[in-house]
C-alpha cells in the first residue's frame, strides 16, 4: 500500500455491512432478510444501520422459520431479487438444509442452467467464547462437500468487504461464513489482525483465489478464517528461531484454489493444515488429499493437520481452548515438522 493512501481501518462487521449497503444502493433488487437483521442490526452486526437506511421493505426481520425464509430466497431469486439471507449461526443449518443443498445449490444444474439463484447466505461461525456444542461450529467443510454452493470464508475486513461485494454480484448461490472472533464486536474477543484498511469505494475480491499472506521457505501453513491470523502470529513467533513460514489464506473453499496450495508445498516441502472445523472428512482432509495427489514427491515430511479433534465443542473454557487450534499449538506443530 502506498504511504499516501489514507488508512481507514474497519472492523469486519462494519466492512460487511458497508458492502451490503453499497450494493443495495446500486441495485434495488438486493434485499436482506433473516432473524433480527432489522432493528437489532444482526446479532453480529452484519446488518447494522441497514434498516434505518433502507426501510423494512428491504430489510426484513423473519420468524424463526429457517426452512421457509431460506427457501424463500430460491423463489425470490428466480423472480429477479438478489437476496442476502442471514442464518444466524451456521450451527442452525440442520433445520433448513434441504432448501439449501437440494434446491438452492442444485437447481441451476438440475435445470440445465436455465434457473439462476443469485443468493448470498451469510452465517456466523467459530468458537472460543464458551458458547458450547450448538453455537461454536465452523462446518464449512460440510457445505464444501456438496456441489453447487460457492463457499467463502474471509479472514479480515478487506477481504470481507470485497468478497461480500463479489458474492452479491455473483449469479450463483454463495455461502458466506464470517468468524465471530474476527468481527471486532465490543463484547466478543476479536483478533486485531482482522481489522485492516478498507477502501470506501466498492471493490471486489475474486472468489476462488487463495492468497499467500506471508511468504516463507521452510513450511506451508494452509489456513482459513480465524486460523489465518493465528498462523501469522505463529509465524512471527518462529521467525527469531530461524523458521521461515509461508502462510496461505485459502479464503474460498469452493472453488478451491489447488494451484496456490500445490505451488507453495512444492516450494517449502512441508505442509501443516490448520482448521477450526472438525478434523475428519473436512477441509483439512481435502487439502491433505490435494497435496497427496499433486505434490507428493515434493514432500520431505508427512502432511500434518491441526483441527478440532472430532469432538463436539465443549462448553468449559479450559476444554474448549484445548480443542480449538491455538497459536501455541500451531507453533508446536510447525516445530515438530521443521526440526
Amino acid at each position: 500500500m502506498a504511504t499516501t493512501t489514507p488508512v481507514r481501518k474497519l472492523t469486519m462487521a462494519r466492512a460487511i455491512s458497508e458492502a451490503i449497503a453499497q450494493e443495495m444502493e446500486r441495485d434495488p433488487n438486493v434485499l436482506v432478510w433473516g432473524e433480527d437483521v432489522g432493528a437489532y442490526g444482526g446479532i453480529f452486526g452484519a446488518t447494522q444501520g441497514l434498516l434505518e437506511r433502507f426501510g423494512s421493505a428491504r430489510i426484513i426481520d423473519t420468524p424463526i422459520s429457517e426452512s421457509a425464509f431460506i427457501g424463500a430466497a430460491i423463489g425470490a431469486s428466480a423472480e429477479g431479487l438478489r437476496p442476502i439471507v442471514e442464518l444466524m449461526f451456521v450451527d442452525f443449518f440442520g433445520v433448513a438444509m434441504d432448501q439449501i443443498y437440494n434446491h438452492l445449490a442444485k437447481n441451476h444444474y438440475m435445470s440445465g442452467g436455465s434457473v439462476r439463484h443469485p443468493v448470498v447466505l451469510m452465517t456466523a461461525i467459530g468458537g472460543g467464547y464458551s458458547d458450547a456444542a450448538q453455537h461454536s461450529q465452523s462446518l464449512y467443510g460440510l457445505f464444501a462437500h456438496l456441489p453447487g454452493l460457492k463457499v467463502i470464508v474471509p479472514s479480515n475486513a478487506y477481504d470481507a468487504k470485497g468478497m461480500m461485494t463479489a458474492a452479491i454480484r455473483d449469479d450463483n448461490p454463495v455461502m458466506y461464513f464470517f468468524h465471530k472472533g474476527l468481527l471486532g464486536l465490543g463484547w466478543m474477543p476479536s483478533d486485531d489482525l482482522a481489522e485492516v484498511h478498507v477502501p470506501e469505494t466498492p471493490y471486489t475480491v475474486p472468489l476462488g483465489q487463495a492468497e499467500v499472506v506471508a511468504e516463507g521457505g521452510d513450511i506451508s501453513v494452509i489456513a482459513i478464517g480465524a486460523m489465518v491470523p493465528k498462523a501469522l502470529r505463529a509465524r512471527q513467533r518462529l521467525e527469531p528461531q530461524g523458521v521461515s513460514v509461508e502462510v496461505i489464506d485459502l479464503r474460498t473453499l469452493v472453488p478451491l484454489d489447488r494451484q496456490t496450495i500445490v505451488d507453495s508445498v512444492r516450494k517449502t516441502h512441508r505442509a501443516l493444515i490448520v482448521d477450526e472445523d472438525y478434523r475428519s472428512f473436512g477441509m483439512s482432509a481435502e487439502v491433505a488429499a490435494v497435496i497427496a495427489e499433486e505434490a507428493l514427491e515434493y514432500l520431505d515430511t508427512p502432511v500434518r493437520r491441526l483441527a478440532v479433534p472430532d469432538v463436539p465443542i465443549p462448553y468449559s473454557r479450559v476444554l474448549e481452548q484445548a480443542v480449538i487450534p491455538s497459536v501455541d499449538k500451531i507453533v508446536e506443530a510447525i516445530q515438530l515438522l521443521t526440526r
Binding site: A57, G75, A76, Q99, H103, Y109, G113, R116
Partner: protein
C-alpha cells in the same frame, strides 16, 4: 363456454400423456418395472385422475405467475403450458430436454412458464412464498401457487411457509392435493385432522376444502383464492380431494389399498364425468370431443416422437452448469 372446453381439452391432454408414459415406461424393462432399464428409467409418478386439481387451479394463472409442484408434476406442468416436446425429451433424458437431460421427471424447470418442481416432499412451499415476496416488492400483480400432496402437509415447511406468507400477506395460494395416500400411508394415519384446509385457521387465512374431484368446483374456489392474492389480500389454503388412478409410482403393487378402493375411484373418473357434463349441457358435442381426442393424441405422439428422435446428451454435459459460467 369456450373456457370449459379448454379445460376439458387440457385434462384430456394430461390423461393421454400419463397413459402414454405409463405404456412407454414398461418398454425395455425386464423384469417388468426394472427401474434402471428401458426408454424411461428412474421413478415415475403419474397423475392420471388428478387432472382437475391442476386444470381447475392453473386455468386462472397467467404465464408469468409462478407454480411450484411436487414429485408428481406432469399435470401441473402441462396445465401451466410447459412445452410438451421439451418436457418429454427431458423425461426421456435427451439433450433437447428442458434441462438437457440433467433434471428428469421430478425436476422439470421452465423459466418460460415460471414452472418448477422438486422430488423432496414439502419443498415447494418456501420458494412459492419467496416468489410472491418478489412480486410484492417489484409491484407485479403476479401470483405464486404451491401445489403439494396431503402427505406434504405434515412437513415442517408447510407450517413455516403458511405462517410466513400470512404474516407478509404476499400473493400466494397453497394447494393441497388430497389423493388419500402418501405412498402406502393413508391420510388418517398421517394427519391428525380430517381436513388440512382447517389448518388455515392456524395462520388466520381462509381455508377451503373442495370435495369430489370436480374441476368446476375447484376452478371456482381457485378463482376466488387467486383473485384475493392478486388483489393483495394475502394467501389462501385450498385442499382439494382427488384420486390417484395409477400407483404411487409405476411398479407399485398397491397391496395396501382396501378392496374395491381403486375401483370406486375409477368409477368416478373426473374426465368421464366432466365429459358427460359438457355433453349434457351442450357445451361439447360428440364430434368436438372426437376432434379433441385426436388432437391430444397427436400432441402427445408428436412430443414422444420428438423425444425419441432426440439424441442423448453428450457426456461433457454432466460437468456443466454446477455453477453459472460467467
Amino acid at each position: 363456454m369456450d373456457n370449459l372446453v379448454t379445460m376439458y381439452r387440457t385434462m384430456c391432454l394430461i390423461r393421454r400423456y400419463e397413459d402414454q408414459l405409463a405404456e412407454i415406461y414398461t418398454e425395455g424393462k425386464t423384469p417388468l418395472f426394472s427401474i434402471a432399464a428401458g426408454t424411461i428409467p428412474g421413478e415415475m409418478h403419474l397423475a392420471a385422475g388428478q387432472e382437475p386439481v391442476a386444470v381447475g387451479v392453473i386455468s386462472h394463472l397467467k404465464q408469468d405467475d409462478v407454480v411450484t409442484a411436487p414429485h408428481r408434476p406432469h399435470h401441473f406442468a402441462i396445465a401451466k403450458g410447459v412445452d410438451l416436446r421439451l418436457m418429454t425429451a427431458e423425461i426421456f433424458g435427451r439433450r433437447t430436454g428442458l434441462s438437457r437431460g440433467k433434471g428428469g421427471h421430478m425436476h422439470l424447470f421452465d423459466p418460460q412458464t415460471h414452472f418448477s418442481c422438486s422430488g423432496i416432499v414439502g419443498a415447494g412451499f418456501p420458494p412459492a412464498v419467496g416468489a410472491a415476496l418478489a412480486f410484492s416488492r417489484q409491484g407485479r400483480d403476479n401470483v405464486a401457487v404451491a401445489f403439494a400432496g396431503e402427505g406434504a402437509a405434515n412437513q415442517g415447511t408447510f407450517h413455516e411457509s403458511l405462517n410466513l406468507a400470512a404474516l407478509w400477506k404476499v400473493p400466494v395460494v397453497f394447494v393441497i392435493e388430497d389423493n388419500h395416500y402418501a405412498i402406502s400411508v393413508p391420510k388418517e394415519q398421517s394427519t391428525a385432522v380430517a381436513h388440512n384446509s382447517d389448518r388455515a385457521q392456524a395462520y388466520g387465512i381462509p381455508g377451503v376444502y373442495v370435495a369430489g374431484n370436480d374441476v368446476l368446483a375447484i376452478s371456482e374456489a381457485a378463482e376466488e383464492a387467486i383473485n384475493r392474492a392478486r388483489q393483495g389480500q394475502g394467501p389462501t389454503l385450498l385442499e382439494i380431494e382427488t384420486t390417484r388412478l395409477y400407483g404411487h409410482f409405476q411398479g407399485d403393487a398397491e397391496a395396501y389399498l382396501h378392496a374395491g378402493e381403486k375401483e370406486s375411484w375409477r368409477q368416478l373418473d373426473p374426465i368421464a364425468r366432466f365429459r358427460s357434463y359438457l355433453l349434457e349441457h351442450h357445451t361439447l358435442s360428440e364430434d368436438e370431443d372426437q376432434t379433441i381426442q385426436r388432437e391430444v393424441e397427436e400432441r402427445v405422439e408428436d412430443a414422444v416422437k420428438f423425444a425419441r428422435e432426440s439424441l442423448e446428451p453428450d457426456v461433457g454435459e454432466a460437468y456443466r452448469d454446477v455453477f453459472v459460467e460467467s
